[in-house]
Amino acid sequence: MKHPAAVLGVGQTHHRAKRLDVSMAGLCREAIDRALADAAVDWDGIDAVVVGKAPDLFEGVMMPELFLADALGAVGKPLLRVHTAGSVGGSTANVAASLIHAGVHRRVLAVAWEKQSESNAMWALSIAPPFSMPVGAGAGGYFAPHVRSYIRRSGAPAHIGAMVAVKDRRNGARNQYAHLRQPDITMDSVQASTMLWDPIRYDETCPSSDGACAMVLGDADSARSDSAWIHATAMRTEPTTYAGRDQVDPRAGRDAAAALWRDAGIGDPLSEIDAAEIYVPFSWFEPMWLENLGFADVGWKLTEAGETGPGGRLPVNPSGGVLSSNPIGASGMLRFAEAARQVMGRAEDHQVDGVRKALGHAYGGGSQYFAMWVVGRDKP
């Protein structure tokens, strides 16, 4: 039997390029303390801790949750460390949810973080293991061909990417925690910014951030009237390379979305989802994922019509998304947490009116790893 689970509270750090004012422990605690306060739960109320972050080489510490056990409040409790590449923040939330769904625990603290300034992410991603094809291009260089392929296949006009960047950065300007807050950004300024990996320009690229996100999840007895109920979770993985693999529209993402909508009882996601936090590290991934998730057959048309803006049919990334803050290991959990904030009505200046159901989405690696959830106001 599946026990109902809900988000009781969320917290996050102020995300910056270098949080030199805090250690790794301090960074995590900043998010955790806010989540506990938001959930009105104290340490004694936490049964277990689930931690997620992307590769340990990003900080230069092997399994850092071991030395962080005290700061994470995990001593004497069960602690799990999840790592599923860039989707890890979402996967961590899903694993924490499963501990409640399984009836193992009543309240679980989920934490995801990255402190990129401790090490060098480009170095960490550029190690050339034997017998493996070197990428040597960073994430932008890896994904640019996928974007070009999307533009060619869909016939999207060239300005769609800039539209997404303007929308997400302006959204980020209303989010007090966002790393980049650019209320004055315009189509012209984005299109005048440096071309990094054609067709991806500087202003269409996520930043590198130090940051953390935490959530307290609980069972039905712990939930309050404004908690965000978890309606469904999904995770799917596919190999990096196989004959016929479609990196633009990966089957793992399609399968995960299909399972998610089925389990959440959603027949028409575009009309039933009121806000979506989608993992968009490069602007063009908004229309790509709109299609992969089944919101639209032609994603760029929704974007071009302004339907993904704050007042549109499907507000996407009202928090500013990954384009405004990207502490990699936490970026997925931020999507899940921001979806919960919308449902709980606690999204401050970037609150979308009347959100009853919201999507949190994360992907990782070379688009092999997907994690998603739907949260809603009504108990499932």
Binding site: V61, R81, T240
Partner: protein
Amino acid sequence: MTADIAVVGFAQAPNVRRTAGTTNGVEMLVPVFAELFAATGLSKSDVDFWCSGSSDYLAARAFSFIAAVDAIGAVPPIMESHVEMDGAWALYEAWVKLRTGEADTALVYGFGKSSAGNLRRTLALQLDPYTVAPLWPDSVTVAALQARLGIDAGRWSERAMAEVVGGDVDTLLTHPYIADPLRRHDCAPITDGASAIILATGDRAREINDRPAWITGFEHRIDSGSLGARDLTGSPSTVAAARAAGVDGVELAELHAPFTHQAILLRDALGLTKAVVNPSGGALAGNPMFAAGLSRIGEAARRVFDGSHGRVLAHATSGPALQQNLVCVMEGR
């Protein structure tokens, strides 16, 4: 109540000092999966959920677990997760998944190619990066500190440690120290390896295995990461996990003790007085990082499969000086 969940299959790669393959485990895992499928009659499409345990630092690369997925042939895509921990914790995540009712079968694996680097120094990077790791106390040195504290406290002796290994104890005690008071026989070998377990629920488990090892308790806890903040001669996390799991009446125990004094410490923490301990040889006979804990669960389950034991315990550890500990109790019915 949730359906009963059992270990129904176990296989492992040879525990060897050095393999020629990549650090992503694929070459070790492919034959292990084949052996598991042959023994259980399952194929990859019968597996509802996959979960693995491994370490990027051990593999000296980011995302080594993504490459390991190539051992599965994950087309169509699979429901999958990964922990940066020993595979025993991946098994725990899978056990939780089965309890939610979202899956009835799970395949869990762990892998580690320790020979790829200098294991002692690699593990030093698990320590506090601001105040401890810069001093490079390696994993054997930290274990030696723990062994010395226990000797000074009268908890064990160098002779008692040698007796964990067995054989000619007097001769063993003439050998030189490699990190006082640890001698070579006190330390697990550096091992490449991989292992895998299949879990199944209720009737599905009974279809697959005539005598499944039903999980009656599965718990884990962590102690402080600060070596100076905990009593290294005890293991509160093991005691708490054992109490929660319920270990009364176990007839056999497989302990993940990479050092002899840790076997003594764990026997005491678990209150094992009559149980047979480590019939497989334990981690002292083969210690593939990120698989050795999962292998303890598999080795214990195998004694249930074969009908030789009714109630067994397996233990796994992670982190410096037994920081994090897991207890899994299984029984035949």
